[in-house]
Amino acid sequence: MAEQAIPGWKRWLEGSGDQVIFLTRFFRNVFRGGFEWSEFVRQCYEIGYKSFMLVGTTAFIMGLVLALQLRPTLVDFGALSMLPKTLAVSIVREIGPVITAIICAGKISSGIGAELGSMKVTEQIDAMEVSGANPVQYLVVTRILATTFMVPLLTLLGDVLGLIGGFLAINITSNVSALLYFNKCIGSLDFTDFLPAFIKTIFFGFIIGFVGCYKGYNSNRGTESVGLAANSAVVTASLWIFVVDAIVVQISSILFYH
């Protein structure tokens, strides 16, 4: 049993070491000259704009469903007037960031993993490297920074659309003016609701980009490894998102909510 456990640990340690080296290469290249602005902008467009419909639709429906589900419980407690506040706090603090991040892990992280994986298989990354170009700066830095920049923006848009979905749900059964609803929503939120949520979306964006790039860049040579890289990127990024979420919520609870 002990003999079987050793290779597993070795592999885990090797993998962790590789990730640290990859992370170091990323940071070293971020601060090196010759930043690839055009590729960064292209990635922001690919990652941000092309994910907007999916994130927006999901957030809108989540807000709508959440409002419909919360309403009967709040009516039982005679606290229907708390519905906008409950919606706003739950969407801004937790549901918006986590749902957006999980969707982006599925769409973006897997996409990056598959793209870089296929570039590895078809020797495109090797071709860049042996030509004297810097594939980390061109492929990795731009993608990680684009996800780190775009995921918070997508979350912000998702939050707004989630609240609009909630407004629609409330208006199915009641007649509440938009001004009153959004006043109540925004009035119930303060700095301590926005800041930790915003900070964790930056971490989520970084994780999505980093995991996708790491899995794709370090995939094996066979075509099978492209699928494995994409799959592994989604699973690992999703797991890390929940772990980081738990840590950030714990820290922000200690700092702001007690």
Binding site: T122, E129, V130, S131, G132, A133
Partner: protein
Amino acid sequence: MEEADKHTATKSKSSSVKGETVIHIKGLKKSFGSNDVLKNINLDIKRGENVVILGKSGTGKSVTIQCIVGMLAPDGGELTVFGEDVANLKEKDLKELRMKIGFLFQGGALYDSMTVRENLEFPLTRVLRLKDQAEIDQRVEEVLDGVGLLDAIDKMPSDLSGGMRKRVGLARTLIVKPEIMLYDEPTTGLDPITSREISELILQMQKKYKTTSIIITHDMECANITSDRVVIMKDGEYVAEGSFDELKKSKEQFVRSFFN
């Protein structure tokens, strides 16, 4: 005698190549786990020389050129390119050395998210750091014209045939005017007519750009057209070298089997 026979002594074409040694390999070793791919490689290549490496699959031909360009680190032996010890170069120095070496991959390795023009501009803007768009356009068009694909300048790699992809790959490699060219099976997967065209193009480009070349191939016609000297590998070691015609007449059964 046997040793002399193995290393077919006369190098009529190669001995005519006068110049400094640009690649020096002595006792090169490389293993992957328990698999000893390169056991003892010794090879000197002079400036302007075109060396073809022949051998069965898995004998370490590609590993040899990957060591030369610094993609793989050898486990032992000496390997110098332009007098620089490749395995011990710093990142910056390795990058500078790589700018003098062109590497044509088997499938061309074109960047499939870019057009042909963008593929060719990539090394000019990222490696040579050229800024003048007129100069970039002129170099792209010149090198594409050289490989006969000026019409395909705005096509995507997915719109090109296998032969066209190799031509564009060759153009992208030559655009930075390397001093050494490494070809990894340049004619694999092509029909005989296109293979001959690519082999002739390689020879034509070698003459035009005055490069030193190592060509790894299984294609005997390509070897015949492009080689000054042929080296044959078996089980991670070089077993014979000489001109194409000399090796064709070798007494060694293994050597002759490549030419039959």
